[in-house]
């Protein structure tokens, strides 16, 4: 931190300087126009002050040339702001394919996080420098918002759906984590910190927290105890229910004739509301698990299903539709507004 009043927060992600640059551009334009208008106002006010009480100045009818000028120029300037802003926005909100995933569950008034390697954290997130991190987030109750000013990014955490936020930290340090969407009584207490570490330190931190079950393993256990195995097969190979192996991230054909990408949102929906989008060839026999699995457990089940394609299960997918399109890298798996 500077000793004088700082103008920008700590910069700790690859977005920081990009957003700052645009911010300074906007500030410069704002300052220019604010000063221009103020200077003109002050100049005119002094130069053309009323000198005699009953004077009438000559009327001026206006000028189309000037009107065009001050319509077109501000519009062109606005378009540069628009284009520049949109470009960074696309980067901010399109997570890269090769990111490390961290699950985030917001609840009044705390953040619960779990790394893919199993470590759990409350109101803290440890991340290494130089790696792309993707947060898959949901809420147990109301809307929250995961905001790290030093990373210049934020995303709402919405109940009933998954939202994602990604970043790549650049500078080790401890940074504020805020809930930026008003969420009730202790909203201003729903804060924490993001701790950015050198990769080596981060590995030490990870190994110092071993013993935790990974989300995928926990999901596998749930898969057994909830009885999923009886229809989807002991290892997700399928049976009375569709196979779960090798389907994640791909398109699958539905009973309705449409097809859908198997992403976090679809798996979640299929567990909570199984009849909503039935896989082609399967009947509506699955019961709902609404109220029986928590948000954390849902994320663990999803992690397990994700692991089924990475693992040795090589059963060719029967669910992949002929109309399968290659998975577009970087497309947010978030379900958009219906």
């Amino acid at each position: 931190m500077q000793s004088w009043i700082p103008l920008v927060p700590d910069s700790a992600s690859t977005f920081s300087w990009k957003v700052d640059a645009l911010y300074f551009y906007l500030s410069g334009i704002t300052l220019f126009f604010a000063l221009l208008i103020s200077a003109m106002l002050i100049f005119f006010t002094i130069r053309y002050r009323r000198r005699t009480p009953y004077e009438i100045p000559r009327p001026i009818a206006g000028s189309h040339k000037l009107e065009t000028l001050w319509t077109v120029i501000p519009f062109l300037i606005a378009m540069t702001m628009f284009g520049w802003g949109a470009r960074i926005y696309f980067e901010q909100y399109k997570p890269p394919a090769n990111a490390i995933e961290v699950y985030v569950v917001g609840k009044q008034w705390m953040w619960k996080l779990q790394h893919a390697t199993g470590q759990r954290e409350i109101n803290q997130l440890h991340v290494p420098v130089g790696r792309k991190i993707k947060l898959i987030m949901t809420s147990e109750d109301v809307i929250h918002d995961f905001f790290v000013p030093a990373f210049r990014t934020k995303m709402d955490v919405v109940p009933g759906k998954y939202t994602t936020l990604w970043f790549e930290a650049t500078t080790p340090g401890t940074y504020h984590l805020f809930c930026a969407e008003y969420c009730g009584m202790n909203h201003s207490g729903m804060t924490g910190s993001v701790i950015v570490m050198e990769p080596r330190e981060f590995d030490d931190w990870l190994s110092g927290n071993v013993g935790a079950t990974t989300p995928a393993t926990a999901g596998q256990q749930l898969y057994q105890t909830l009885g999923c195995a009886s229809c989807h097969g002991a290892n997700g190979e399928g049976g009375r229910g569709p196979t779960l192996t090798g389907v994640f991230g791909k398109m699958t054909a539905l009973q309705s004739g449409e097809s859908v990408r198997v992403d976090e949102a679809y798996v979640r929906e299929s567990i909570l509301n199984p009849q909503a989008k039935l896989v082609a060839g399967f009947g509506p026999i699955m019961p709902t698990f609404q109220g029986q699995v928590s948000e954390d457990q849902l994320l663990q089940l999803i992690a397990y299903i994700k692991s089924l394609q990475a693992g040795g299960q090589t059963t060719p997918t029967t669910a992949a539709s002929p109309a399968q399109t290659p998975a577009r890298p970087g497309v947010s798996p978030t379900r958009n507004l219906r």
């Binding site: 100045p57 001026i60 040339k65 802003g85 934020k154 008003y182 909203h187 958009n336």
Partner: protein
Amino acid sequence: MRAIESFEVPAPPRVNYINAQYGLKSWLLTKDHKRIALLYLGSITFFFFIGGLYAMMIRLELLTPQGDLLQSTTYNKVFTQHGIIMIFFFLIPSIPATLGNFLIPMMIGAKDLAFPRINLLSWYIYLLGGVITIYALLAGGVDTGWTFYTPFSTTFSNSYVVATGLGIFINGFSSILTGLNFIVTIHTMRAPGMTWFRMPLFIWSHYATSLIFILGTPVIAITILLLAFERIAHVGIFDPALGGDPILFQHLFWFYSHPAVYIMVLPSMGVISELIANFSRKNIFGYSFVAFSSLAIAVFGFLVWGHHLFVTSQSVYAGMIFSFLSFAVAIPSAIKVFNWTATLYKSSISYDTPMLYALGFIGLFTVGGMTGLFLASLAVDVHLSDTYFVVAHFHYIMVGGALMGYLGGLHYWWPKISGRMYPEGWGRFSALVIFVGFNLTFLPQFIAGYLGMPRRYHAYPPEFQVFNVLSTAGASILGFGMLIPAIYFVWSMRYGKHAEANPWHLPGLEWRTQSPPPTENFEVTPIVTWDAYEFAPREETEVVGKFRPELERI
């Protein structure tokens, strides 16, 4: 330069709209638009000071980083109620229901609004909505934020959400009736010769505002009803636990509430056009551009609600379209600012209080509007949304814009409304105090916001304290500045100098009748043969550039 001519004004008869009848009943059952305007003036001032009290509580709490003055539950209610009172019960009705009500018939040469009874009804509806809301505040208050975001408001909040919602729902009908009344009046009641392009720009901006009243307000009514259904009957609309979509609420809410910002600022722009032209004795530069920019703002204002949802996981493509449209809606506002500034060129500027407010408005509105571009710009909004930058931005629009216009207008027309002059020295002094206090309050919040201070925080990290101390100091000055006009306006009603019919020497119709006006506004229906702001004959009009006057007049 030529000397101003004195307009022929009938000798002031003793009877005017204020002393035409006496007694409480004559006020409560009045159909006179001027008396109804005064009823509104009294009630919105009441709400303004309640909202101001909440503002002071917020600023005192935020003086220190710890949440030590108020409990967090209380603080959450205080900022919620500050927003609800100020927006729904002060800012939205402020200029239209008081100055608009009083002046629209007078400016177009009519005896009254088209539907005087509906006009009175709208005040009673406003009052009913206000009473219900006050009941909700006294019974325990509401803590959802003025935005009522779901599912917090429908499922989790333990406060008087439905009662407050009912107050706002009912209040909305008064807006709709006012808008309807204005539109019909402007269409059908203009005096002979008062063509559309002779109308003062105040009328144009109220016409545009009325369109939003009529088209937008029903949407907030529907939204509040749905919210109440879900909260009372657990019908799943917004709460995902019931099968609803929480983001749907935000779309519906902002479909009204973003245009509502233009409801607040458009009438103020109308006032500023009057002040700039009349206190510089100059016709507005580019009259038709200023007039049509009001309509453009009203129309485009309906297409930008999605810029409140850039960080909700809304589709990035939708975000892009809303960002583009938000930049587009800024252009008509820029056109206005440039035209106002150009009007001052080679004019004759007086330093009377209303003009000070007008000049202040242009400066503050420029900052407010330009900082809106930061929030329209997608990537920067991702960082800034829900921070103090947003708070600072909309206060520049709502206080620096809407409120400055309201105060300027109130001073300008006070001689006409009350028949008395306010004390000019105190007027200038308080305008200056308000301007300084306002900037000291909200400028630091832009910086705090970019540094990441989230809004609606009851306690905050200590590094933000310096900004909050400045803000609180500014708010104290601002609060003090607001008290001065309140005192001298009341004082002037009894002790102020009697106002002439036309104390500012202006050509507008409202100045061609006595102050205060008679109940029927004009002794004889005026016949209009002049343009708005026609201080000098048309032959003397200076033509700059390649402007062709016949285009201007259409």
